[in-house]
Amino acid sequence: MRMLISVATAALGVALAAAPALAAEPGEVVIVAPAGPQTMDGCQSNVSSTARILKQNVLEALTIVDPVKGGAAPRLATSWEQSADGSWLFKLRPGVMFHDGTPLTPETVVYSFERMLDKALGCDPFIFVFSGVEVKAEAVDAETVRITTNPVQPILPLMVESVAIVPLATPRNELTRAPLGTGPYVFTNWDTQTSVTLTRAPSYWGEMPAVTKATFIWRSEASVRAAMVDVGEADLALSISEQDARDTDLMYQSAEMSRIKINNDQPPFNDVRVRKALNYALDRRALIGTLLNPRITLANQIVGPSVFGYDPAIGQYEYDPVEARRLLDEARAAGAPIDRPIRMISIAGSSTFANQDEVIAAFIAMWKQVGLSVTNEALEMGLFRSSIRRENFDPNRNPTLVFSNHDNTTGDAGMSIFSKYHSSNGTSDLPDTPEGIKAMDALIESGMAAVGDERRRIFGEAMRLEHDEIVPEVWLYYMVNIVRKSDRINYEPNPRTSQVIDLATITLN
């Protein structure tokens, strides 16, 4: 041991003499994320580890989601309008060049849509956004593209945000590892397990950003990420944990909400009183400022305030153990087996909260107070994902809760409501009766077809029904994320920071 120390010290002395400057060159920033990318294709635009590198930086779409107000804003399309037949016409921005030197034309847009929505590639836009929708893109003239969908999509301008526009040189039938786009940064290098480098595009159509070179790296431990900013190895560290956070760190409301799904396949969870009691029994406010970030807020619907369709009028299940016990007694009197052991499943190793084990322990203790016995079982991701599917529910299993979180990446409540409450999705939680299911499906479908205030009203109505009457889940919190930045840069995080790091918004001191 002593030997080792002396050897190490000697080695250190030699190495220190040749220690390189850790500080980056001016104009260069290093961003450290929790996980590295799996692919480098716009195809995987919903995987945050890929998206936060590519989106807005290398790849651009016809529109962008306004990060604060929600809704679509111009990007590669300068304007759009819906024709009488329901199709949409997008006017392309003139003078835009791809990184390979070819110009942005309607043909490239058509090519990008065909590629991204090709079933064979199985890209995220196809799976997430355009699932079950027929899409046809065609060139109208030298600067206009017509996109026809069946059924007609009232929020198509928002949906096309997911389709990155790529040049014809992008391989058609396979994923690329060297993405080409129109963005302010050129993809330069991907060292598969270590880093991705982007450099500023000299011929960008828009305003020239301040950062000249960005390197994305990843470290799994939050404490290591935080330390890297402190010692000058990184300029921006994402997902800093609660206990490491300090006043100078940046906090932001993310688009993510946490919840506990209540599967109603097993009694007593088929009794709405029990589901309400699960909500009333949790003193969610007690954890804020103690276990959880003081700026975290209580959730009461599947989307947060920054998403179109959020309804501020929906109430809260405030902590009320007396009411919880009363509801449980009532249910028990009606024959509900309240004493059955309850199983909660969560994803092993992942943490929705910085101190998830403690949060879960606290919830279980609170449920115990009202007489419900819950145990948590952490499942590995693949197992978790297959066991939350209704088709895999074992008829003899224990009543089951699912600790989960949801991140709305589109800025519109439709995607969240459809995937969480519509019966066509294998993991959604449904009303207790067939009529109820039918009615909810119809309501959601009418909302998906509506626009503007009508859309907002219907989505609000659906989420109010879920909250007040169907109660398929325990609503927990709208999440707050913490990032640490170095003094070298200025950066203002927004609700989409977990998904997209817009390098152009970073300025240097």
């Binding site: 041991m1 002593r2 030997m3 080792l4 050897v7 190490a8 080695a11 250190l12 190495a15 220190l16 040749a18 220690a19 390189p20 850790l22 799996q38 692919t39 294709d41 919903n46 079933k119 064979a120 199985g122 995220d124 196809f126 799976i127 997430f128 699932s131 079950g132 396979e174 994923l175 590892r177 060292d191 598969t192 397990q193 270590t194 790296i217 990843w218 470290r219 799994s220 431990e221 404490s223 290591v224 330390a227 890297m228 402190d230 010692v231 190895e233 590995e380 991701m381 693949g382 197992l383 994902r385 297959s386 939350i388 995607m415 995937s419 066509s424 999705n425 294998g426 993991t427």
Partner: protein, 305 residues
């Protein structure tokens, strides 16, 4: 001797075949990877389609047949996760782990020989107690704990070393140091124990009685005999260092084989898992074969099986 060498290689190939077959079927028991490659919100139709396309729906035996056919052509398949040939991904990761092991194992071995022998000279003496206790204590610390404390102390507080990553020689100091402790603790114990055994055996006592001086006894007579059990343990530790490498590579963000294995299991990237298992197994097999040869040279009785 030649027969022994040939047999050793044949049996190694057999072990490898057993391992690969086990891993192949075992990995597929972990479930259909569709759930991991298709977002949770995907519709049923999309899920079915993806599973079909990637061949997840074929009977496992058919998949195994395809795998063997590809293997015969030297093709380990595409990595699902990285969308490139699995063997390329492994080849990229190999140097990092080899460097980690190649630095940690020799350092641990040399330190263990020194500490263990000195301890055995005066069992129960001051040096024996302190050095033995310290090496064992350090070896009994969880390696992720050592790694994070190492970062906090040497990178954050003292600022002598970079926190993590690769690039300069300094980046290797902490990961290698963390990896050294476990084998060092064990090896020092092994050396000390076998030295004690050897030192109390008749011929050493005879050598002592002849009036030979201690260093001569130690280096000339005791050490070679004590090395035999050590070689085997060194090989075992070299194989085991992959365990440590998983943790170290995860914490320090190093692009190595250990992390690759972990990821490939977590993401059900079967082709990648198979490729990485085959490559590392070959590496470990070669190390074990060399050790066996060494042992056989030192102690020919071991060749009789």
């Amino acid at each position: 001797m030649l027969k022994f060498v040939v047999m050793r290689f044949l049996s190694g190939g057999l072990s490898l075949a057993i391992l690969v077959t086990l891993i192949f079927f075992f990995a597929r028991l972990t479930g259909n990877p569709t759930d991991l490659y298709v977002p949770m919100d995907a519709s049923e139709a999309v899920r079915a389609q993806i599973a079909e396309q990637r061949g997840f729906n074929d009977p496992v035996v058919v998949q195994f047949g395809n795998f063997l056919a590809d293997l015969a052509r030297g093709d380990l398949g595409q990595s699902l996760r990285y969308a490139r040939p699995a063997i390329d991904v492994v080849a990229d990761a190999m140097p990092t782990t080899l460097t980690l092991a190649g630095l940690a194992i020799p350092i641990a071995t040399v330190l263990a020989l020194v500490i263990g022998s000195l301890g055995a000279l005066h069992p129960g003496g001051i040096f024996d107690r302190i050095a033995g206790g310290a090496t064992l204590g350090a070896a009994s610390l969880p390696d992720f704990w050592l790694a994070i404390i190492g970062i906090l102390v040497f990178a954050v507080v003292l600022r002598w070393l970079p926190t993590s990553g690769t690039g300069t020689a300094l980046h290797w100091v902490l990961p290698v140091a963390v990896l050294v402790f476990r084998p060092l603790g064990i090896l020092a114990q092994v050396v000390r124990t076998s030295m004690l055994g050897v030192l109390s055996s008749d011929y050493i006592r005879a050598a002592e009685a002849k009036g030979l001086r201690w260093p001569a006894v130690l280096v000339g007579h005791a050490l070679p005999n004590a090395v035999i059990p050590m070689i085997m343990v060194v090989v075992y530790q070299a194989a085991g260092i992959l365990n440590g490498a998983v943790i170290v590579e995860v914490v320090f963000g190093m692009p190595g084989v250990g992390r690759l294995m972990l990821d490939s299991i977590m993401f059900r990237d079967f082709n990648l898992l198979q490729a990485v298992v085959i490559v590392t197994a070959i590496a470990i097999f070669i190390a074990a074969a060399v050790a066996d040869l060494l042992l056989a040279l030192i102690d020919p009785r071991l060749t009789h099986d």
